[in-house]
Structures are given as structure tokens and as C-alpha cells.
């Protein structure tokens, strides 16, 4: 342990503050992201099973907690197959591109006042701008696979993400104009007496619905609708390439839940426990709600999906933003 601290001190002396924090953060993230995904998959299976009155995996480890880790290791050993008529370069680079936004998002997430790699003054914008890359990558994967199901899934993904990004940004804006800052730590610090979910319940609801759609989670999972599109854009992917898409999907969900925590649930604030534990509890509560929704509602039809975004979510979030602006101006 002392040797490790000495090494970190040496790196610190050589690199300076920013690079050291970046390096340590990168190492921690490289371990945290896959393990987090493993835990989230296990958690989802448990929620799903208990809703359908089953116990889910019980064999590998206590309550099957090592099952998904074993699955991940198995996935590493699988053969990587590229279809004959696929666009080789795009097919190869799509799983790499999809992992970038889910990694970059962690840079600005404030787990606690100290546990944040870089407190950018445009933190929220950074996450939004990088999360658009996910759609880009899904389109690349669907197009390059040379498979009709993949292409249909990718096209659906683009239409869906364009539609749901608008209410997402509008509901975020109603929080931003209350704090006058895109900085994550400022938004959290502004919520010391009251969480914003009490001031902005409608915005919070719209935010959660839109992020569910952005992460392609059920009931908005038309992108990978198993019953109609095999599994959408990642039909042709095998082994760890498929694993990258899978990991990115769950990590995006984690980032979406932590953004909702920062914006509406008061970030690391909470009594008795340290900030990081409160943050994780809130994030996993939101993730539980997403799972709960998934195992309750059937998948929406495509016209219902579009009508819901354009006719209901966007007008209501615009109205909400307008009322917030007027109230702030009057007070």
C-alpha cells in the first residue's frame, strides 16, 4: 500500500494535478465500468425474476452473483465473425465508437465532492454531446452489417433518438435556468435544502421517460426488438464485440441515471451516510425504476412512440420550461 502511494506521489510530481487525476480516474474506470455492468445485469435479472415469482440464478456464487462475470469471461473467448459482404472497417470500428461516450460520460459525473475526475463548466453539455455518438455508432453497426434487420433497427434508433433528445434537453433546460450553470457540482450544490424533483416534478418525469428511450430500454426498445428484428443492430456481432454493445447499453443507463440523480435527486446530498454511497443508492434506485418499467409494460408501436414524443412530451416540456422561466422572472 505504501509503495502504491509512493508511485502515485511520483506520478503526481511528474504529471501535475490534472494528468494524475485523469490517470487514476482512467484506471479506476477501467475496473469500475465492466464490474458495474456485471452487477447491473445481475440486478436486472433478479428484479425480472422476482416480478415473475422466480429466484433467477442461484448456483454460481451466493445468489448467482458471479454468473454474469463468468458469462463475460466466456464472451471474451468467442470467435469474432465478420459477415462476408459487411463493410469491414465500419463493422470493426462501430463497437469501439459506441464505448467512447459511455466512458467519457464518467469524466464529469460527481460521485461526491472529491470523486470527480474533472469538474468542467459544461459538464451536462459534454454528456449530451457525446451521447449523440451512440446513435452514430448504432447506425454504423446497422449499416455495415449488410443485414436488413440490423438496418431497420439502426434507422429506428436514429428516428427515436432524434425525437427523444428534444424533450430530454428541454426538461434539462428547466433545471439549468434555475441554477444558471452547466457545471455538475454547481447544480448539486444548489439543491442543499430541497431537491429539484420537488420544484420540477414534470421535468423529472419527462427526463426519466426520455432517457429510457435514449438508452433504447423497454418499452422503447424498438431498436433491438427481439420478437421482430432478431436483435436489431447487433444481430451480426459475436463475442466481445457484442459484449461492447451490451456494456455500452448498460453503462449509458448508469450515466442517464446518474444525470437524473444530479439534476433532480440532489446528487451526493443525504443524511448520515457519506456522499458517494448516497449517490450510488439514488442511481440504483433510478435504475431499479427503469427495470421495473421494463418488466411491466409491453413494447410500444412505432407510431405510438413518435406520437408520444412529438405530441405529448415536447409540448409539455416546452410549457414546463416556459412556466419555469416566467416564475423565475417574477420572483
Amino acid at each position: 500500500m505504501t509503495e502504491l502511494i509512493q508511485i502515485i506521489k511520483d506520478i503526481y510530481a511528474f504529471f501535475g494535478y490534472d494528468l494524475t487525476v485523469g490517470l487514476v480516474g482512467l484506471v479506476v474506470l477501467l475496473a469500475f465500468v465492466p464490474l458495474n455492468v456485471v452487477f447491473m445485469v445481475w440486478f436486472e435479472m433478479k428484479v425480472a425474476a422476482h416480478i415473475t415469482l422466480r429466484p433467477a440464478f442461484m448456483r454460481v456464487g451466493p445468489h448467482g452473483i458471479l454468473q454474469n462475470l463468468a458469462d463475460g469471461i466466456k464472451m471474451l473467448g468467442k470467435d469474432l465473425i465478420t459477415p462476408k459482404l459487411a463493410d469491414k472497417f465500419l463493422f470493426w470500428i462501430a463497437p469501439i465508437v459506441i464505448f467512447v461516450p459511455s466512458f467519457v460520460g464518467f469524466v464529469v459525473i460527481p460521485f461526491s465532492p472529491l470523486m470527480q475526475i474533472k469538474d468542467l463548466n459544461v459538464g451536462i453539455l459534454l454528456i449530451f454531446s457525446f451521447s449523440s455518438l451512440t446513435v452514430f455508432s448504432i447506425l454504423m453497426a446497422g449499416w455495415s452489417s449488410n443485414n436488413k434487420y440490423s438496418l431497420v433497427g439502426a434507422v429506428r434508433s436514429v428516428a427515436q433518438n432524434v425525437a427523444y433528445e428534444i424533450p430530454l434537453l428541454l426538461s434539462t433546460m428547466s433545471v439549468i435556468i434555475m441554477t444558471n450553470s452547466f457545471r455538475m457540482s454547481d447544480i448539486v450544490a444548489a439543491q442543499t435544502p430541497v431537491w429539484y424533483i420537488l420544484y420540477q416534478p414534470i421535468a423529472a418525469l419527462i427526463f426519466v421517460i426520455s432517457t429510457t428511450a435514449e438508452c433504447n430500454r423497454s418499452p422503447f426498445d424498438l431498436v433491438e426488438a427481439e420478437s421482430e428484428l432478431v436483435s436489431g443492430f447487433h444481430t451480426e456481432y459475436t463475442g466481445i464485440r457484442f459484449g461492447m454493445f451490451f456494456m455500452a447499453e448498460y453503462t449509458n443507463m448508469f450515466i442517464a441515471a446518474s444525470m437524473a440523480t444530479v439534476l433532480f435527486l440532489g446528487g451526493w446530498h443525504g443524511p448520515f451516510l457519506p456522499g458517494v454511497i448516497w449517490f450510488i443508492i439514488k442511481v440504483f434506485f433510478l435504475i431499479f425504476i427503469i427495470y421495473w418499467i421494463r418488466w411491466t409494460f409491453p413494447r410500444v408501436r412505432f407510431d405510438q412512440l413518435m406520437n408520444f414524443a412529438w405530441k405529448i412530451l415536447i409540448p409539455i416540456s416546452l410549457l414546463n420550461l416556459m412556466i419555469t422561466a416566467i416564475v423565475l422572472k417574477v420572483i
Binding site: 421495473w292 411491466t296 405530441k311
Partner: protein, 153 residues
């Protein structure tokens, strides 16, 4: 379901009624989340079969003789539509009752119709509660139920 001729009121009603039905759905699954699980961990836990379950036939052990009452009359073998049963009885001394000594069934041909159980004059046959009926070869489906009764002692 309420409807309105005014399109704007209809729009608001649609949202409110939809939200209510979604909330009811969420409540249903939330309650199920805390109900006890109903499946069992099969090789470690096993459920007892109901009395109406039909496995292959086996002998009933009676308390007076501590064994079966089979007299090797052969009615079961003769009534069986698939010729599943083969049995052999013997008399120890002249004037004694005949006693079943060997009773072999070929379960691969059995259709579990239960005629043998109905026809037995001594009522010494019953359906077993055996449901783990996986065999490695055809010869394994030939079951000596007399031997089985002795093993169960």
C-alpha cells in the same frame, strides 16, 4: 372511459387516463416483487407429486404380511393393452395360495392407462410417484417392481 367532443379536453383526458392505467400496471408488478417465489431449485429441492399423478405401477406394501398381496392370477398381464407386464408366481406347498415371485414391466410401452390397477383382485397395485424417468438405454426401462419393493424396505 370518458370522452369529450372538445379535442383539447380529449387530449388532456388521454394523458390523464393513460397515466392512471400505467400507474395501476406499475402497482401490480410492484406487489408481485414482494410475493414469495413459487419455483423450486430442482435437483436440490423437490416437490411432492399430487395423489392423482401416474407414474409406472408398483406394489402396495400391506401391514399384515409386510409385503404385497400378489397372487399371480395374471389378470393384469392379460388386460394390459400393450403387453407391458410379465409375471411369474409359485406355490411352495400343495394346497397353499399362489404367491407372485417375479413381476417385470416394460415401461417404454406403457401408456399409463391404469387398467391393471383397476382389474387387480387383491388391490395390491398402485401408481408410483416416480417422475424422474430418464433412461440411458431401452433395457433400463424394464423395471422389476418386485425388486423395487424389496429395495424400498
Amino acid at each position: 372511459m370518458k370522452t369529450s367532443s372538445n379535442p383539447f379536453i380529449q387530449y388532456i383526458l388521454d394523458i390523464l387516463i393513460g397515466a392512471k392505467s400505467l400507474a395501476i400496471g406499475m402497482w401490480v408488478t410492484a406487489r408481485r416483487l414482494f410475493k414469495p417465489i413459487i419455483t423450486v431449485q430442482y435437483p436440490y429441492q423437490k416437490i411432492t407429486m399430487s395423489p392423482g399423478f401416474r407414474g409406472h405401477i408398483e406394489f402396495i406394501r400391506f401391514d399384515d404380511t409386510k409385503t404385497h398381496h400378489c397372487v399371480a392370477c395374471g389378470l393384469c398381464a392379460r388386460t394390459c393393452p400393450s403387453h407391458v407386464i410379465k409375471l411369474q408366481g409359485e406355490k411352495n406347498r400343495a394346497g397353499d395360495k399362489k404367491v407372485g415371485r417375479q413381476y417385470i414391466i416394460d415401461f417404454s410401452k406403457c401408456s399409463l392407462c391404469g387398467l391393471c390397477v383397476d382389474v387387480c383382485p387383491e388391490q395390491t397395485l398402485k401408481f408410483s410417484r416416480e417422475y424422474e424417468l430418464v433412461f440411458y438405454q431401452r433395457w433400463d426401462t424394464v423395471i422389476d417392481i418386485m425388486h423395487r419393493l424389496e429395495e424400498k424396505q
